[in-house]
């Protein structure tokens, strides 16, 4: 409005158009309310990279990545160092939990043993103090060992946000215990997501945080028959480490105790050591290449709203491919870019636009740079109503 006098012709009469200007402004503002652009940043970036820069010499030839060069780029990314400053899930697209580093109160983390002595296999809710306890639903980040979607299959960690009722004043330690109890029971997701149950028969005892160390008491050392390879055993330990650290919101080292004594988990992994999650440029050691964080499993999306698929990916050249199916019919495919490529974990977002009512499955894939085969895939089913 500032240059309004500039804008209109000098020989207009003052105030001549006041009313029509106001009406027009309002009409335009209202009219555009019905326009909800879908999310296209990924497509823009992808297509711009495909097409390549327009150089001063006018050349805009195709830019095909040369494989060795891409490897060099990956190394460059490692040297480049930290990409975002939040901790692990800090880049998490799903907001319920912030795992920021160093924002946690003080080093005097509460040393409160939750529930029960070490032995009895009570499937533990948290503190059984007398009197009515008000609970509220919270969404806890829980990690599971699942297939990454290649044809070997390879297993890595996936994160789910699971709702649980906790006392409204639950401490991080109590949340950690609740999350660990959920983590050792992958059964609800074994059919849909193929998650393994390496901790079958396990019970979480107390969880404590003292002197910068998280200690998790386990009822037994784990059944090797439930975690059949050394890698699955390692991931089984790591899923508890990731889950506990996420709930405590600090990357503190984790120690395991079985009935107060030292032993070997699954008969092979000594408890005389501490565990932690790998550094940012090595997350791929534990974390599956493709996570879908939204929509959630079986979420119902209103038909009036555009569907946006979001997630985290550690993928070659930051490129993911996706396919949308309605029932068993393919309705759309495409590709998108994560915010950064492997070995770092990037965020991606895929705008599917508004969808007509129905049951859908979206699959997000990493294709092998070698032969284009699917090297990782995660799918989630959702409904539009």
């Amino acid at each position: 409005m500032s240059d309004r006098t500039d804008f209109l012709h000098p020989d207009y009469e003052p105030g001549e158009f006041d009313q029509v200007e106001r009406h027009l402004r309002q009409a335009l503002a209202r009219d555009v309310q019905q326009v909800h652009p879908s999310h296209r940043l990924d497509t823009i970036l992808h297509e711009a990279h495909e097409a390549g820069p327009v150089t001063a010499t006018g050349g805009s030839g195709p830019r095909r990545w040369v494989m060795p060069l891409a490897a060099a780029a990956a190394v460059a990314a490692i040297i480049g160092g930290v990409w975002w400053s939040g901790q692990d899930d800090g880049g998490g697209v799903t907001p319920p939990v912030h795992t920021g580093p160093s924002v946690v109160p003080s080093e005097t983390a509460p040393d409160l043993p939750t529930t029960a002595p070490t032995s009895p296999p009570s499937t533990a809710t948290s503190s059984a103090t007398g009197g009515p306890v008000t609970t509220q639903p919270v969404s806890l980040p829980v990690y599971f060992v699942g297939p990454i979607g290649d044809d070997k299959p390879t297993y890595k960690l996936f994160r789910d946000f699971i709702r649980d009722d906790l006392p409204s004043d639950a401490s991080p330690v109590e949340k950690a215990k609740a999350a660990l109890v959920l983590a050792i029971n992958a059964q609800p997701y074994s059919n849909t997501d193929g998650y393994l149950q390496p901790w079958s028969g396990q019970t979480i005892g107390s969880v404590t945080v003292t002197d910068g160390l998280i200690t998790i008491d386990l009822a037994n050392s784990g059944n090797p028959d439930a975690a059949v390879t050394p890698e699955i055993q390692r991931l089984a330990v790591q899923e508890l480490v990731w889950t506990a650290q996420a709930a405590i919101q600090q990357t503190l080292p984790v120690r395991f105790e079985v009935a107060g004594a030292s032993t070997k988990l699954f008969g092979s992994i000594s408890t005389d050591q501490t565990f932690t999650r790998p550094g940012k440029d090595e997350l791929w050691k534990d974390v599956a290449p493709v996570w879908i964080t939204s929509p959630a499993r079986d979420q119902v999306v209103p038909a009036a709203k555009p569907v946006v698929v979001q997630g985290l990916a550690i993928v070659f050249e930051a490129t993911i491919n996706w396919e949308l199916k309605r029932g068993s019919t393919q309705v759309a495919t495409g590709h998108a870019m994560a915010s950064i490529g492997a070995p770092m974990q990037g965020q991606y977002s895929i705008g599917l636009g508004k969808l007509s009512a129905g049951s859908y499955t979206v699959s997000v894939r990493e294709l092998s740079p070698k032969d284009g085969s699917v090297s990782a895939e995660k799918s989630v089913s959702f409904a539009v109503k």
Partner: protein
């Protein structure tokens, strides 16, 4: 994020710049294009092309403000040529009917949305739609995006004096139509 020249293959500086521009201008420009084109999908495609063009020329643009101006020019031109080839429209309608997804929403058809609007709004929008193209562009950029006369002149590639004249004529016609209607 720092610019890193990985053999000239990956250009994080351009990516970052586009992400910023996208956050600032995507919705506004799609809506501008929609006001000119009246077609959701065509509007998004015009603006998407504009962003891609800026990304590809980032080495020469390298400046947020210049990029915003470039985007506006590209969007207005894109919308114009979209209108010129109204074949575009038929194609989208056909696509919409051919595919089960609702990717292509042809907004003009939405009776429900129309009903939600007040009568003043729709008669004003209707009157705007009947103005000559230049007047419509000038008034839309002015009263939807609040652009200055200079910015509009730049986007349309016309002189400041012409912007004034188009605005004046357009507003006069709208006023007359409003008065006639009431």
């Amino acid at each position: 994020m720092a610019e890193r020249d990985r053999g000239g293959e990956v250009r994080p500086a351009a990516d970052d710049a586009i992400a910023d521009l996208y956050a600032a201008h995507w919705t506004g420009l799609v809506r501008l294009a929609w006001l000119l084109l009246r077609d959701d999908l065509a509007a998004e495609e015009v603006v998407q092309d504009a962003f891609i063009a800026v990304h590809r020329r980032w080495d020469t643009i390298r400046n947020h403000q210049a990029a915003a101006a470039y985007l506006r020019r590209a969007v207005v031109n894109g919308a114009r040529s979209g209108l010129r080839h109204r074949g575009v429209e038929e194609r989208y309608v056909a696509r919409e009917q051919g595919e089960p997804t609702a990717y292509t929403r042809h907004t003009e058809a939405s009776a429900e949305d129309r009903a939600l609007q007040s009568e003043t709004t729709s008669s004003m929008i209707g009157a705007l739609g009947r103005l000559p193209q230049r007047q419509r562009e000038v008034l839309t950029m002015r009263y939807y995006l609040d652009l200055s006369e200079a910015e509009i002149a730049d986007a349309l590639g016309i002189s400041a004096g012409s912007v004034k004249a188009h605005a004046h004529r357009g507003l006069a016609t709208l006023r007359d139509r409003m008065e006639a209607a009431s």
